[in-house]
Structure formats: structure tokens, C-alpha cells
Subunit: 564 residues, 2 copies
């Protein structure tokens, strides 16, 4: 490709609101533009990288026996409603009504569609297991779209779905994907850490996220020396016993100054650590139902864990107005007695004689004991894990926090979708059984951003060979015909390289200085730069983008090196 | 691929509402399923064909220098509004509001998006011309979705866009595409006739449709021996003079029985041919504005032509209620005097002393002459062409009608979009000028249907080699291990063919009879069928899907034949 004719050239400045280096570099080097927040256009350079990422993923999906299919973007809303995924996705799922009044979800994922697809062929045990996959545009109406290609509102996703007759073969599909994802990451030049994760709005109970460590990532994972790795939404940890050897004392209503409202006020007033207090955090569901999370004072509620326990879709933090409607206010919420669903954290069982729980204008109570004085409808793990907590698996090591970006996600659903949608197969005895399902996703835009985060320097991108838009960046330093290098014609070098099957980006611009061409080559980041100039005579300067030194080779030498 | 493990097997019956053979066959053979009306799922077999069609189109786009890009599906609605395309597309364009209240169009085509894309890089004359293209999902909220893959609500489209500095280089891009489309059709095994067409809601003034002749097609084209070819919405023809030598007589109000309302009533009452009467056809715009089309009694209004002349978006036929509001009724509409925009057809100039135009309870008028007694705001070609009319180009030949399906469409827009969107480039003298634009589209689902319409027999599909899902369909007639052919192991044949780089669909099913396997092979329509059976010993039966006779070859002979 002649750079002079390439649509989408480099620019000096990145957008002012760009935070991640991958966003700045991909913009400046001319790979992407935003059409609106979170919706990106890919230039010809950007699409070249995209194609290579897609090809690698496609090959690995074929290797594990995946069969490529395609499905519509607009899904009949009933398919989402069958498993209440419309509620679980909340406002993140876009909906649209057609001119005949039928409602559609704009595909955010395709579990239900694929389940419906499979139903249409009434499979028998002979057909199972199989994996179908597609590359298709997905839509998530994110409240905030930030970080360039990392969190977007519309993106291409490789999503695959496995259908199996039993647990064993379903798990085989799961681990096939797990290993394929490791392989894909390796081929893309990305380091990933598979971690146990929460499946969130997608349903199911067993899943892994593949996280790329990155200081600016949105995800936090917790790791232990014992090998335990989980994301913050899933990580289990040991809640230390605070004072379980203490004897239970009788509950007492005590007088308390009105100013004691927050946890800090309490610590000050009683001169005791936060862990001795009860804390309430109030949420509401989309339908307005009040949820009160009760937790030990030194711990934080993790909304994802809580959402999963409540299982009624998105939770929204209650506002002061909500509290007024409950006839209370911040700091005054009671651990019992409100018209609400109470969810208690496991930490309520680690303290004797809690303080708090019934704050009024001039009183509160002390010596509150869970089980004796109050109980919650559900007692579960709703606490956010943090660095330094004891690992929930080995119960000895201390958890460490790593920030990162989610590269891929694998889910084992069992019959979560097939039961709700009556998706069955006929077994050897002619009996109808529910299909065992798994789903597996990689976002392509995000993969591109992750690659750039991992492969760059202060001058620009350094593409791994496997996904570079071109193999070589050929720079002609004397493109004007009147001063053309008499010993080596760059146009001919371009033609010959292409004839050898090498993908060449050829900077043939006449109006641009040598310095600018070098700056652009470093910014665009193609792995090898070749320079044809009068100074080099009949030799070509060969330089790896990641190397400091260059070499002079003849054309044959260049081709040989590139083909090696 | 082992057929036993393929997702999406054959079935006996087509859906009851299927009309086109391509729909029935693609369904029965297991290439497609509908998720909802007009929105299709592609099975692995269907996607294989899709991939091959895409590859052929992609190669031809590369050959003419196209640069592949990608753009979001949701377009900020403002981009559509800039050229009033939102109005022109009417309800066919789906719209959706995001959670922050921003309106988006769900991409029906991408002219405005691509214009915006190009603007973001402020091109100069040095960058021009260039062609960018994509394969992306398009959405049209069709009132009726029928004919399987021919008229769908959602489809993959190859859409390309050319941007040029002047008329000449813009036209070069146009004809490059024109010839590329002929080449693509040829490679897909499709016969196409390029015809002059109307650009409809897309804007612009110069375009060609590529029509595949098909008796069940939705489009009608008119051809003349002189070479003129146009679709019904565009075709120009000569309006014969009816009685221009007659002298203009004075307009007269005459009494007329109340029952004389329709054209047939008039013919009966006056005993004169339809061509002597005035006819009014009433429409309204989306905003409720009344349009009255005035035309010679023997001609029909073509809504597309009329819509284009009115240029206020979709036109809807007026209802009886609309006429009541106008204080008239069917057959009583006047050729003048209503609160309406009057559009007259050129045929008003071919008759002297028209009858009609002012029907009241007991009167009408005669000797009405256009120009003298009434005029319309616009006089234009709004008549539907028909077989037998005189060609508008040579004015001698008679037009012939052919039915067909639109395979592709090329548009020359000049500065229709760039002017409205202020999309400019810097010319050699540093002056800002409007970009000259063209756009070019091929729908992939429809291409697949057209191929099947053209390549089939009573037994099933007969795929052209270029797009067949697999090159050979290998049938094992003795798959059960206990009765396996001792001289030739079909599993090994399968492996060896694959190792030779041949794409094989291998029917290894144990539970299916030989007869059923043959029926399935004919239905699926892979170009070559190979049979391994005990009867054939160490030879393989080789039969072309389009041939009656088979041959016995050894494996080497088969490979040689396939590689030829």
C-alpha cells in the first residue's frame, strides 16, 4: 500500500480526553476514530490489525472444532425475557420497537439466540457435543465509555457457544476454550491470567476471566501464592474472628449524642475499631424494592456479589430521598424492622456484642448479637475482597491485588438457558433432556487496545508480527523523480517485495521530510522499517522497530530475512 | 467436516409460507433458519457459502484499490438529518434512544457516516481519489419481508464509498465499481443486466442497478433493442400524441349522471377511450401534506417517480377519510382548486380537449386543455412504464418487460452528501472544495439466494464451484465398523483428501440409509459427490452434481481431477 494513497494518516495530537496510551497511540497513528462516544470507526490500518486478530481467533476456534455461524443483531425481546436477562442487563441492554410494534433487544450477547437456533434443529445425542461461534457486533449501553477501545458501547465479539449432552462433555468444551484462549493470547503477544470470576448478568455459576495485567485497567484481581486467582467480584477470603471468645452480653439501649452518625463518628465516640460496629448499606432494585446489606463496620459491600445474591437485576444505591421515604436518614438505618429485604454478610458471625443497629435521635444499642437479636433473610458473601485479606482457598496466604483488563471470559451455564427455554435433545433411549451449555467471548477492539498497551514505547506502537498491519514499512527518502536514487529505485523495491508475498506499507510521499517519515514509521509501529535513500546506494537499511541498530542489506538479503 | 457432527442437518419440509425455491432449498438443505421474519440465522453450511461470496467480493474490491474499513452500526441521528435522509427513508429507518437520551439511527446505509469519517482526516488533493469499503450489517424495517433471503430486514452488505476531487476521477471510481460488479457476478455464477435506475431514498441522480432475471423477482426492468435498459421506476418512454391535431374547443360544464365516478364509468358514459380523460391520484406526505398527481386516464402513476419529484420523503396513498377532509370523494377529486400540491404528468401535453377534472354531483366538464384551463405546480415524468410503450431513448423500439432481482446498485452522488455535511478537501491552490462521492452496494444474503435461484434442479441446489460450501461430498455407504469396506477405508479417504487441501463434507452417519444419503447430497448440492462402498471395492465413485453419469476412479485420480 502506498502511504500517499492510504486513507487515515497520522496526526500530531491525541484527543484531550484520552487517558490510556493505547487510545492516544491508535488515534495519532491513524488506526481509529470515534464516531460518537464509545463507537469507533476503524481506518484501513486499523482494519488490517482487526483482520489479523480475527484470523488468529478463527483458527484457534477451528482447532477446537468450532463451527462458524452468523445470527441477527436484533433479537426478539421474548428470548431475553425467557431467562429474565432483560432485567439482569437493565439499561445496558438497548431495546427497539419495529414499525409493526414488535420489540427487539439489540444484541448484547447471544446465548438465548443460539439456544433458540439449536432448538430449531431438534438435536439428538448423535449430534452432540458441538461448538458454534460467530464474530458479530455487540451493543452495551454503558453509562460511561472511557479508555478508548477498552470500554466501548459497540464492539465486534467472537462469541462461541457449546452444547453438550452431559456435564463431562460440556466441561471438555469449557476447558478446550480455556486452553484456546491461552493460545490466542500467546499468539497475540498478550500475557493473561485466568481468574475465577463472577458471571454477572449472564447467568450461570462457573466462569473464568482472562485478565491482562495493566495499571490503568478497570478490573482488580486478587491472587494468592497458593495459586488462587479471582476477580474482586468473586474473590473469597477468610473473615477473621474479632472477639468470638467474648461472652454474649444482654442487648442494651444506650443513650447516644445525635451527632454520632457515620462509622468515623462511632469510632470516635466509642473509641473502638470499626470491626466492632454494624453497618447498613441501602440499595433498591429497578422495581423500587429496598435492599439493606448488613455488614461488619470495617468491610465494604461488593455490589456485584450483592446483586448476584439478590438476583433481581441491577441494584441502584438508595438516595437520601429513598431513606426519607423509609422514615430514616443516612447513619440512622436500622439492622432490622424496615420494609426491606435484609442481606447479611458472613462477617456478622465473626463478632460478639456488636455496637449499633438501631440509631435514633438520642439512643443506639450495644451488645447486639447476630442470630440472637436479629437475623437477615439471607446470610452470604457480599464483601469486597482487598489486598492483605487471608486467601479463602488456602486460608493462610495473604491476597495480593493486581489491576488489569479483561481480555476474554468463559462461562459454564449447565442448563441455565436450556431449562428456561425448554431446549432439549433426545438421548440414546429416546428421552428428552436439557442441553448443557457453555459460552465464551473475546472482544476484538479491546484485544487491539490490550496489545498496544503491552507493545509500545515513547515513540509509538510496536506491533507483534502476528497482528502488524503490514510486515514492513518501506521509506523512500528521495521520492521526487528529479533526485531519485540512481542505484536503487524504491518503487521497484516496493513492487519486488510485494511480488515476494510481503505486505508492504510504502511511504512514497513527496511533500514530507525524512524526519517526519521516520517519526510516522515509529508511531505506526510496523515491526520492520526499510529505508531506500541516496546515501545507502544500492543497499537497503533494515531496522527492527524494537531495535536501536540498523543494518545495510541488499534486496535479496531483506527478502530472506523477512521470510525466515 | 463430518456430517454426523455438523450443526444444521437437512429436513424434509420447507416452511409453509416459503414462495421462492431458493428459500425452500436453503431451508431444507440446512443453510438458513429465520430467527424472526426477515432476520436470518446462518448455519455452518450457510456461513461457508457466505464466506466464499465475501472473499470474492473482497478480492474484487482490492483489485480496484478499495481499502477495507469498519464503522459502527448505530449512527448519531444528526448525520442522517443533515441530508434529510431520515425523512426520505421514513419508517424503514429504525431509530433508538440511548440511556443518556441521544438518538441513533440503526444503520440502513452508511453514506453520511463515511462522509463524517473522511471529514475527520481533512483530506487534501494528494489523498484523492480513494475507495473505502466494509462488510457490515444493515437494517431496513420493511413492511413485508418475503421471499426468504431476497427481501430481509437485516442483512450483511458490502458497501463501498468513493471520494474524489473532480467529476472525472469520481466517474472512474463509478465505472471501476460497475465493471467490478460484472466481474463479481460472473465469479458467483450469476447473470446480471445493468440498468439505469432511480436512486430512491439514497439521493443523487445517476445510478445503475444490476438485475438478475428471475420470474419471481420483485423488480421489473424495461429493455429496448436499441440497448436501453432501465428499471420501472426510471424507464423513460414516449407518450404518444392522442389528438394534438384537434382544435382547442371552449371549456364547457356539462351535466353528468351521479354514477359516473370511475374511469370505467366515464369510458362507458362517453364511449371514448381512457386516454381522453383526466385522472387524479391523491397521496399524502408523512407530514400530512396532500399531493395530487394528474395524469392521462390510460396511464398509471409510478410512486417512485412521483416521490422523487415531490422530494418530501415517503408518500402514502390517501384514504377515503383523507378525501372527506378535502370535502371530496373517490372519482370526484378536481384537477385544480384543492388545497394540495399538484404534480402533472408529461402526458397532459398529449391530449386536446380532455374530459373530466371537475366532477360534481350532476356535472363535470369537457374540452379541458392543459396550460389554458389549468396548470400544475410541476409537470414531470410520473408515469409507470410498461411493455409495448415506445422506448424513450431511440423513440422507435417498443419496450419489453423482464422481471428480476436486484443484485447490486452503484450510485454517483456528486456533492449531494458532501455539500450538506460540509465535507471538503484542500485543492492544489489551498482552496476548500466539496468532495465528489459515489456509493456502491451488494447484499450478501440476497446474492446467496440469487445464486440458488440460478443453480438448482428438482432435487436440490447445484452450487457453482466458486461458492460451494465444500468441494466434495464424500459418502460412506458402509460406515458401521462390522461391515466396513475391506478394500478402502472411507475414514482414510476423508483424511487423505483433507491432507491434499480439499474441502470435504464427509457423510459418516451410521443410522442413515444409502438412499437418504444420496437424497441429502443432491439437496445440499456440493459440486462433486464421491461414494465409498463395498460394491466399488478399492475404487471411488465420482459424480458431478450436474451430471447424470458417474465414474470409478482411484484416490489419486480423484485428487488429480479435483485439483485440475
Amino acid at each position: 500500500m502506498r502511504y500517499s494513497k492510504l486513507f487515515g494518516k497520522t496526526v500530531r495530537n491525541a484527543p484531550k480526553d484520552a487517558v490510556l496510551e493505547s487510545h492516544k497511540l491508535l488515534f495519532r497513528a491513524g488506526f481509529i476514530r470515534d464516531l460518537s462516544a464509545g463507537r469507533y470507526l476503524l481506518t484501513p490500518l486499523g482494519f488490517k490489525v482487526f483482520e489479523k486478530i480475527i484470523k488468529i481467533i478463527d483458527e484457534e476456534m477451528q482447532t477446537i472444532g468450532g463451527q462458524r455461524v452468523s445470527s441477527p443483531t436484533l433479537h426478539p425481546l421474548e428470548l431475553w425475557q425467557a431467562t429474565h436477562r432483560d432485567v439482569a442487563f437493565g439499561e445496558g441492554l438497548m431495546r427497539v420497537k419495529d414499525r409493526r410494534g414488535a420489540w427487539f433487544a439489540i444484541g448484547a450477547t447471544a446465548e438465548a439466540v443460539m439456544t433458540e437456533f439449536v432448538k430449531k434443529f431438534s438435536p439428538s445425542w448423535r449430534d452432540l457435543p458441538f461448538v458454534i461461534y460467530q464474530f458479530s457486533q455487540k451493543f452495551r449501553d454503558e453509562l460511561r465509555a472511557r479508555g478508548g477501545l477498552v470500554r466501548v458501547r459497540e464492539f465486534l465479539m467472537k462469541d462461541s457457544y457449546s452444547f453438550a449432552a452431559d456435564e463431562e462433555s460440556s466441561l471438555k468444551c469449557y476447558w478446550d476454550h480455556f486452553h484456546a484462549y491461552e493460545k490466542i493470547a500467546e499468539r497475540l503477544g498478550i500475557k493473561v491470567i485466568p481468574v475465577e470470576a463472577d458471571s454477572g448478568a449472564l447467568g450461570g455459576d462457573f466462569c473464568h476471566e482472562f485478565i491482562t495485567p495493566c495499571d490503568f485497567g478497570e478490573d482488580t484481581i486478587l491472587t494468592c501464592e497458593c495459586g488462587y486467582r479471582a476477580n474482586k467480584e468473586k474473590a473469597e477470603f477468610v473473615r477473621e474472628n474479632i472477639n468470638l471468645d467474648e461472652e454474649e452480653k444482654p442487648l442494651e439501649i444506650v443513650s447516644q449524642p445525635e451527632w454520632v452518625e457515620s462509622m468515623d463518628d462511632n469510632v470516635k465516640h466509642y473509641n473502638l475499631p470499626k470491626s466492632r460496629f454494624l453497618k447498613n448499606v441501602v440499595y433498591k432494585t429497578a422495581k423500587g424494592k429496598i435492599i439493606i446489606a448488613v455488614i461488619r463496620g470495617d468491610l465494604e459491600v461488593n455490589e456485584v456479589k450483592l446483586t448476584k445474591v439478590v438476583n433481581e437485576g441491577e441494584l441502584i444505591p438508595a438516595t437520601d430521598e429513598d431513606l426519607i421515604k423509609m422514615e430514616t436518614k443516612p447513619g440512622w438505618v436500622h439492622c432490622w424492622g424496615h420494609q426491606a429485604l435484609y442481606i447479611g454478610d458472613l462477617s456478622l458471625q465473626t463478632v460478639k456484642n456488636f455496637i449499633g443497629g438501631q440509631k435514633e435521635k438520642t439512643t443506639d444499642c450495644v451488645n447486639v448479637n447476630y442470630g440472637r437479636d436479629f437475623t437477615c433473610e439471607v446470610l452470604a458473601d457480599i464483601t469486597e475482597a482487598h489486598e492483605g485479606y487471608f486467601c479463602g482457598k488456602c486460608r493462610k496466604g495473604k491476597l495480593k491485588e493486581i489491576r488489569g483488563i479483561e481480555f476474554g471470559h468463559v462461562f459454564k451455564y449447565d442448563d441455565f438457558y436450556s431449562k428456561a427455554m425448554r431446549a432439549t435433545f433426545t438421548d440414546k433411549n429416546g428421552k428428552e433432556k436439557f442441553l448443557q451449555m457453555g459460552a465464551y467471548g473475546i472482544g476484538i477492539e479491546r484485544a487491539m487496545a490490550i496489545i498496544v498497551e503491552a507493545h509500545r514505547d515513547e515513540k509509538g506502537i510496536i506491533w507483534p508480527k502476528s497482528v502488524a498491519p503490514y510486515q514492513v514499512h518501506l521509506v523512500n527518502l528521495n521520492p521526487k523523480s528529479e533526485i531519485r536514487n540512481p542505484k536503487l529505485n524504491a518503487d521497484e523495491v516496493y513492487e519486488k517485495l510485494q511480488a515476494s508475498g510481503i505486505e508492504v506499507l510504502y511511504d512514497d510521499r513527496e511533500e514530507v521530510s525524512a524526519g517526519e517519515k521516520f517519526v510516522d514509521a515509529d508511531l505506526i509501529g510496523i515491526p520492520v522499517r526499510l529505508v531506500v535513500s541516496e546515501r545507502n546506494g544500492d543497499k537497503i537499511e533494515y531496522k527492527g522497530r524494537d531495535k536501536k541498530e540498523s543494518e545495510l542489506l541488499d534486496l535479496e538479503g531483506v527478502v530472506e530475512r523477512l521470510k525466515a
